[in-house]
């Protein structure tokens, strides 16, 4: 590898080193082994955290991983990407006057051990004769497919991209989760007998009706749509944040990064984009946000991280126009913003001040302002709730036998990987219950004993 490429890969390599055996043992011993522990309550997948930690302490690493898999098949990804400060670690009883247990890093320690030793879950259930299609190989889809396979269902995942993993593979900055971890996790799900069909897109390559005909149940795990347009002049010169992160993971050597980069937005994805730009050589990275640091949607620890990376912030600025030279961005014209009374989001409504235009110089502009609601909902004729696919308590959509999980149903609450994993797990349980309480369909092969 050329030095420059090596440096690029190095600049984005996983931020936290794995815990050494000694460090893991010391940390595991520090855990009090709470009963009905708040960390387990706070974890959306309710991993029995004290149990897996005490198994690390007793050097039963295989058992530790099994404990994690029992609640969360995507423990390796969650250990890396979960906002643990807001979840398990945030609820740790030692947090108040001490340091919470490093649950995320201990989970990663157990999951790394499982990966390096091939200690993956095994299917013990007999084949049920039922078949299920899962559309989308992101965290929700993988979790659901894995849980279904563990129950003996023949499960097929359809994924439009060439690689499985969804945002874990394409959208989580490598600093937090290397591509290889996400892909290995998908291979683990595959090892449970799940069939993967990549490069197959629902709507264009295969229809929902086809899937309904061929399978006993269909699970939609299609995520969200594209980044919304800002609808400003010169927008064609703005780079999409998710595409920017994807390139940094799949082809970092080819990713163009400017010297003076502006990132529009202040969520976690915006911080990720700014971090990539900074680490890959931008001299100056400025995050432009129309509200202030009080209203930012990124986690507090992400904001702290961004500041430590040397990222600058320009608050109360509303992008109005991209200044172009020969089709290339040279600056972002903004309007000064005043904050008004709370809007629908509960945050003060930004009010651009007429005539307050000012220009921020930039040779690259990236936008990370959220994702649009799932376009598929309307296309498939599914009922929606606030634009997201509407589901009942069993994750069933308005179409019988068609389920939906993950970000595409997240009409309230913050979308996150671990929530998607929990959706997959709960939906699998609900689907299993429904399918197993009805006789096997005529089209499916019957199990002969």
């Amino acid at each position: 590898m050329e030095p420059a490429l090596r440096n690029r890969a190095k600049a984005l390599e996983e931020q936290l080193p794995p815990l050494t055996s000694h460090a893991a043992a010391v940390e595991a011993d520090r855990c009090l082994y709470c009963y009905d522990a708040p960390c387990t309550h706070a974890c959306p997948t309710h991993i029995d955290i004290p149990r897996f930690i005490k198994k690390i302490a007793s050097h039963n690493l295989r058992g530790s991983a099994e404990t994690i898999y029992a609640s969360n098949l995507l423990g390796a990804t969650c250990a890396r990407v979960c906002p643990v400060q807001e979840l398990c670690e945030g609820a740790c009883v030692l947090g108040a006057d001490h340091k919470p247990i490093a649950i995320g890093r201990l989970q990663r320690f157990a999951m790394d051990h499982a990966r390096l030793n091939g200690h993956y879950p095994a299917v013990k259930a007999k084949p049920t004769g039922r078949s299920i299609a899962v559309v989308g190989a992101g965290p929700a889809g993988l979790s659901c497919a894995g849980e279904l396979a563990l129950r003996g269902h023949k499960t097929t995942i359809f994924e439009k991209r060439s690689m499985p993993g969804g945002l874990s593979t394409y959208g989580i900055i490598a600093l937090r989760e290397p591509v290889e971890v996400a892909l290995e996790e998908a291979r683990m799900i595959q090892s449970l007998g799940v069939e993967f069909k990549t490069g197959v897109e629902l709507g264009s390559d295969i229809s929902l009706a086809d899937l309904q005909r061929q399978f006993d149940a269909v699970v939609l795990s299609v995520g969200l749509g594209a980044t919304p347009a800002l609808e400003i002049e010169g927008e064609e010169a703005i780079i999409d944040g998710l595409a920017f992160i994807e390139a940094s993971k799949t082809a970092p050597a080819n990713l163009y990064v400017g010297r003076n980069v502006i990132v529009i937005g202040a969520g976690n994805t915006a911080v990720d984009c700014a971090t990539i730009a900074r680490r890959l050589g931008a001299e100056r990275v400025t995050m432009v946000y129309r509200r202030t640091d009080r209203e930012m949607t990124c986690y507090e620890h992400e904001y702290d991280f961004a500041r430590k990376e040397g990222i600058e912030f320009r608050f109360l600025a509303q992008p109005a126009r991209v200044l172009l030279n020969d089709g290339l961005a040279v600056g972002l014209e903004c309007l000064r913003v005043e904050l008004g009374s709370p809007d629908a989001s509960g945050r003060p409504a930004p009010r651009p001040v007429a005539g307050s235009e000012f220009v921020l110089a930039a040779d690259q502009i990236v936008k990370a302002v959220g994702q649009q609601k799932p376009a598929l909902a309307a296309l498939l004729g599914l009922s929606t709730q606030k634009g997201f696919i509407a589901v009942d308590d069993t994750f069933e959509t308005s179409l019988s036998g068609v389920y939906a999980i993950g970000d595409c149903i997240r009409s309230h609450g913050a979308a996150s990987t671990v929530m998607a994993v929990e959706d997959g797990k709960l939906a699998a349980a609900a689907i299993n219950q429904k399918l197993m309480s009805a006789p096997a369909s005529a089209s499916a092969p019957l199990e002969v004993s």
């Binding site: 010391v26 011993d29 009090l32 082994y33 709470c34 009963y35 009905d36 522990a37 708040p38 960390c39 309550h41 706070a42 974890c43 959306p44 309710h46 302490a57 807001e86 979840l87 398990c88 945030g90 609820a91 009883v93 030692l94 108040a96 609450g413 671990v418 929530m419 929990e422 709960l426």
Partner: protein, 461 residues
């Protein structure tokens, strides 16, 4: 400033802390270093019969991050030529006239062998002699050490031989590997020993290596029992010490006792003194951290004595012995209940599970709204720290049902969070002895017991 000086059976030292007869007192240069650090005395590693040692002598018991809660050893008595030991003892005593230099001895069970070693020790000008009747491994196979200590008649006979020959104070050291520690102690008193010391190490196998399946430590593939010592044995040592202090024969004799067995800090030391020791010996803690721990041993003990108004070690010695009692003399009407300080409680619920699984089922979980709740009562859809923290139930003791067992107090990881609070029982004080004497049927018959409980208001849940 408290006066830490002691005069133990005529052996004087500037503080009560002596290094026990063990590896830390193997050579003159070691003891020189120890005295420089401030140790009040040293019991020289046992000299006597010729021996050879093996490798992998020390095993240890660790718990979590805490190393060496106890050490287990198969090291024998001194394997250095006896002449070198005797010469160095004389040199040390000359160099440190104010410190206690005691020599531990163990020879074949023959009067002439004991007479010879006593004379050779006295020639060094040492302050005293300790008789090693305790070593539980190796030497015992040769009829020495605990082979003597476990038979009170042997203890008495050999100690008589020694007392006939000795002109300096003699301390008889007891083995704990015996059913009743009082019997060899009485034998020592009968034989005229000047003092007793206890405890020597306890028979133990420290573990099995789960990779090799060999005993730990492995001595060329073999292992066996060794002598167990260190913080983990302290409660056993305290019990044996108290047993001597409350025995009529031993206590009436006025024979002083040097206490040892797991003393690691000044708090342990104070407890040994309170239960009747008047000199203290330390080994495992020194083997873990070095001679330097003497500074806190003296400093901490002195500060505590000042706080409590004790002026001398003699004042402390035996101060709590009068509180040592037998079960039959406890007040059956004394009642204490656990009380959890909600302000200090971190809601780990360790008390809850300990009480409900294994004790008396009298701790409830109470929601922030004051309702009784079951554990794991939350929805599977719950997510995030906010709800976990805000709905976290508080463990609360149902005092009417609390038997005051004190398990919760012991498992609580927060200092001073759970208190055992005395509450009126509404019953007159009474002991089992009194019941047995005055209401004999109650102590012999369940029906009578039932009537008695009904009469005085004792409800068993």
């Amino acid at each position: 400033m408290a006066d830490l000086r002691i005069n133990f059976a005529g052996i004087k030292s500037p503080n009560p802390f002596w290094l026990a007869s063990a590896p830390p007192t193997n050579t003159g240069s070691q003891i020189h270093k120890a005295f420089e650090a401030g140790w009040g005395g040293a019991v020289w590693k046992t000299i006597g019969a010729p021996v050879l040692n093996v490798s992998n002598r020390y095993g240890a018991w660790h718990q979590g991050r805490q190393r060496m809660l106890a050490i287990n050893n198969v090291e024998l008595i001194s394997d250095r030529p006896i002449e070198i030991n005797l010469r160095e003892i004389a040199e040390i005593k000359r160099a440190w006239p104010d410190r206690a230099v005691i020599v531990s001895a163990m020879v074949d069970s023959k009067p002439e062998a004991w007479r010879e070693i006593i004379e050779r020790i006295e020639d060094t000008c040492a302050d005293g002699i300790e008789l090693n009747y305790g070593c539980p491994h190796g030497m015992s196979e040769r009829g020495m050490g605990s082979a003597i200590g476990q038979v009170p008649e042997y203890c008495e006979r050999i100690t008589r031989w020694v007392m006939e020959a000795a002109t300096i104070p003699v301390i008889m050291k007891l083995t704990p590997n015996i059913t009743n520690i009082v019997l060899p102690a009485r034998a020592g008193v009968a034989a005229g020993a000047n003092a007793l010391s206890l405890i020597n190490t306890i028979n133990s196998i420290v573990g099995v290596d789960l990779d090799t399946l060999e005993l730990t430590p492995s001595i060329g593939g073999k292992g066996g029992h060794g002598g167990y010592a260190g913080p983990a044995v302290k409660p056993i040592a305290l019990n044996m010490l108290a047993a001597l202090g409350t025995d009529e024969v031993v206590s009436k004799s006025g024979i002083p006792i040097s206490g040892m067995g797991g003393i690691a800090n000044w708090q342990d030391a104070a407890q040994f003194l309170l239960l009747g020791a008047s000199s203290l010996q330390v080994c495992t803690a020194v083997m873990h951290y070095g001679y330097r721990i003497i500074e806190d041993l003296c400093d901490g003990l002195s500060n505590w004595m000042d706080e409590k108004g004790f002026k001398t070690i003699a004042e402390v010695s035996g101060h709590s012995l009068h509180r040592v009692s037998e079960f039959k003399d406890f007040d059956l009407s004394y009642r204490a209940v656990a009380r959890i300080d909600a302000a200090k409680c971190i809601k780990c619920n360790l008390c809850y599970i300990a009480c409900n699984d294994t004790a008396h089922q009298c701790i409830d979980l109470v929601s922030p709204q004051g309702a009784l709740v079951e554990p794991y009562a939350y929805s599977v859809r719950s997510n995030g720290k906010q709800e976990a923290i805000e709905t976290r139930p508080q463990p609360v003791v149902r005092e009417a049902d609390c038997v005051g067992c004190r398990l919760c107090y012991n498992v609580c990881p927060v200092d001073e969070c759970i208190a055992m609070v005395e509450v009126p029982s509404g019953r007159s004080p009474v002991t089992w002895s009194e019941l047995a004497e005055n209401q004999t049927p109650v102590t012999e018959d369940w029906e009578a017991m039932k009537d008695y409980r009904g009469k005085v208001g004792i409800e068993i849940h």
